[in-house]
């Protein structure tokens, strides 16, 4: 029986995998996410981490966790299915975009050019995984009361809400107008801004059950390359020919 205290955390291994991948050329990397459904406990920490990392406003979500209940008493079970963007190799959202605002970058991640997007939402309708949401420009502090004194009220909280996020390595402030990404389709991008800084995606580092695993599938020594070769690895809606880069371990 392996000594669990002696076995390094998979985060350590994934961090090492990431460092090796970052030494390669962009086009030689193939980012892949593996979600081990047997380990997911449905804590939603990944969802919250993603919201915090990308400063997602109300109504925008990149990575919900779907909860399903099966069977009847006494044989009942629940399944938790995190659903990031599948980063399809053949993404249905890309060819429909009328202005080239969404495309697959050289690392195989489907990205958004917020300044190019006209907000037609065609890409949202085209995604078979509902992985895109529209930014309606809402804030968590809207319609909340002003408070003076020691209570942190709207004016204080709003400072945080208006502060920039750093998706795609660009500061996107919410200054209260209609500036992008307000009025745009938004989606998970595997935290490219973190990867470029040598950090794993926020959902991966936050996962308490180590159910979210990430790495370069082109590296045969990486954890994800090992996992996606297993017979219990599957992908959502494979019949659509989208070839997702997100795998589920059943």
């Amino acid at each position: 029986m392996p000594d669990l205290l002696e076995t390094p955390d998979v985060l350590i291994r994934m961090q090492a995998d990431l460092q090796r991948a970052l030494e390669k050329l962009h086009q030689e990397r193939r980012w892949v996410m593996v979600l081990d459904l047997r380990k997911c406990v449905g804590c939603h920490a990944c969802t919250v981490a993603c919201v915090a990392e990308n400063k997602l406003p109300p109504g925008v979500v990149y990575r919900p966790v779907l909860e399903e209940e099966f069977g009847s008493y006494p044989n009942v079970t629940r399944r938790f299915l995190p659903r990031p963007c599948m980063q399809c190799e053949n993404p249905p959202c890309v060819p429909v975009c009328p202005v080239h605002a969404t495309y697959t970058n050289e690392e195989g991640v489907v990205v958004m050019d917020y300044e190019q997007c006209i907000g037609c939402r065609y890409c949202i309708t085209a995604c078979p995984y509902a992985a895109r949401t529209f930014d309606f420009g809402r804030t968590y502090t809207e319609a909340t009361a002003e408070a003076n004194g020691l209570i942190v009220g709207r004016s204080q909280a709003e400072v945080y809400e208006r502060a920039a996020n750093f998706e795609y390595g660009v500061a996107h402030e919410r200054r209260g107008g209609e500036e992008s990404p307000i009025g745009n389709a938004r989606k998970c991008h595997f935290c490219l801004h973190r990867l470029s800084a040598g950090m794993l995606p926020a959902c991966t580092t936050t996962c308490i059950g180590r159910a979210t695993l990430f790495g370069d599938a082109n590296d045969p020594d990486s954890l994800v390359a090992e996992l996606i070769a297993r017979p219990n690895a599957t992908r959502l809606k494979e019949e659509l020919g989208t070839h997702p880069r997100v795998y589920y371990l059943l």
């Binding site: 966790v65 779907l66 299915l81 009328p98 907000g119 745009n184």
Partner: protein, 376 residues
């Protein structure tokens, strides 16, 4: 009060509502819209399909007079072109207001993606609009000129293309089985002709010159066309829904059920089927009624109401079916719902656009030389 005056008053009221809606839209963006990230397209997209269909269909009908010189349709060409232009303007306004970034619409022209059906459609509509305008000018200035005929010949396939492209816009989406029907781009031109015929029924029946000796026969012909097209339309519906139901693919069946028995059941059974198809078929069948301006015009209005509901019934139900079963409860927040009913702001904007379109039509009819000399 004459019918036309009543129409003017209704249009002005609709414009007032539209002004409030427009203020809300421009001040608060999309925040007060009921569509969201799941039901992504709402009333404005449905109305875009509706008005765009009338525009393409009206142009096709204009060719009967200006290109093919069908005797009974003589004198209707300019009117049909004007209907096409005001409908197209309403369609473009409707879809423009739906954009998240209206100010970036120029990108569609200068940085557009040729492979995107939406881009192709926008380019097609732009060419179509310019062509219709030039055709109308020529139809007034040089009705017998060769240039008008050439442009009408060019315009006919373009009008077919743009109406088919609307079907293709939805049809290419394999993720929505309800839309992913190969025949959708074929059906839409038929819908366009049918809605163009209905619009002309209204234009000639309710507001056309009563002294025109051909008016009764024109209405009769358009009425019969309405009946035939309504039957074809019903057949399309039956084919679509029965195949979906027999096929028994859950996502498809759910969408069909949403149309038939869901929250929009009344829009299908009452507006689309009863008012938009069955009553017009019954009323327009007898020749006496079919030749009556008031009756034929009223039936045209009903058919158009049915078409508006039909467009909504194509757009909304497909989007109300979750792509993944548990998505409905996975994450909550504003605009994350699979239920959709247009918000007051959306209704107001649509009312304003419809009012502006009808007002444009009436003003054109009163002030532009849309009638041929012998009729005028």
């Amino acid at each position: 009060m004459t019918l036309k005056r009543l129409a003017y008053v209704v249009c002005l009221l609709a414009l007032a509502a539209g002004a409030w809606g427009l203020y809300d839209r421009l001040t608060y963006g999309h925040q007060n819209a009921a569509y969201g990230s799941y039901v992504v397209w709402g009333l404005w997209v449905a109305m875009y399909l509706f008005f765009a269909g009338i525009a393409a269909g009206s142009f096709m009908l204009a060719t009967l007079d200006l290109l093919f010189h069908v005797p009974v349709m003589r004198g209707t060409g300019r009117l049909a072109l004007w209907v096409a232009l005001v409908s197209l303007a309403a369609a473009m306004l409707s879809i423009w207001l739906d954009l998240g970034h209206m100010e970036r619409v120029w990108k569609l022209y200068l940085q557009g993606a040729p492979g995107s059906v939406m881009a192709q459609m926008v380019w097609g509509y732009s060419v179509f609009g310019l062509l219709s305008l030039v055709c109308l000018i020529l139809a007034v200035a040089r009705p017998d000129g060769i240039l008008l005929r050439i442009l009408m010949i060019i315009g006919l396939p373009i009008s077919l293309f743009i109406s088919g492209a609307v079907g293709a816009l939805l049809g290419v989406e394999a993720s929505r089985l309800f839309w992913h029907v190969g025949l959708l781009p074929v059906q839409f031109p038929v819908f366009s002709v049918a809605s163009g015929v209905a619009a002309l029924l209204v234009a000639i029946g309710l507001f056309g010159p009563r002294q025109d000796p051909r008016r009764a026969e024109q209405l009769r012909l358009l009425g019969l066309a309405t009946i035939v097209l309504a039957v074809v339309k019903l057949y399309f519906l039956w084919a679509d829904f029965s195949q979906s139901t027999y096929g028994n693919v859950p996502q498809n069946v759910d969408a069909v059920n949403a149309v038939l028995y869901g929250p929009y059941w009344w829009a299908f059974w009452i507006l689309q089927l009863l008012l938009g198809s069955i009553i017009p078929i019954i009323v327009l069948l007898p020749a006496r009624l079919g030749r009556s301006g008031l009756v034929a015009g009223a039936m045209g209005v009903l058919v158009l109401v049915g078409f508006a509901a039909a467009r909504a019934n194509i757009v909304f139900p497909a989007l109300t079916v979750p792509e993944l079963e548990a998505l409905t409860t996975a994450f909550t927040g504003p605009h994350l719902t699979f239920d959709y009913y247009p918000s007051p702001m959306e209704w107001a904007v649509t009312a304003g656009i419809a009012g502006a379109a009808i007002l444009g039509f009436l003003i054109g009819q009163d002030w532009l030389p849309l009638r041929s000399k012998e009729v005028a």
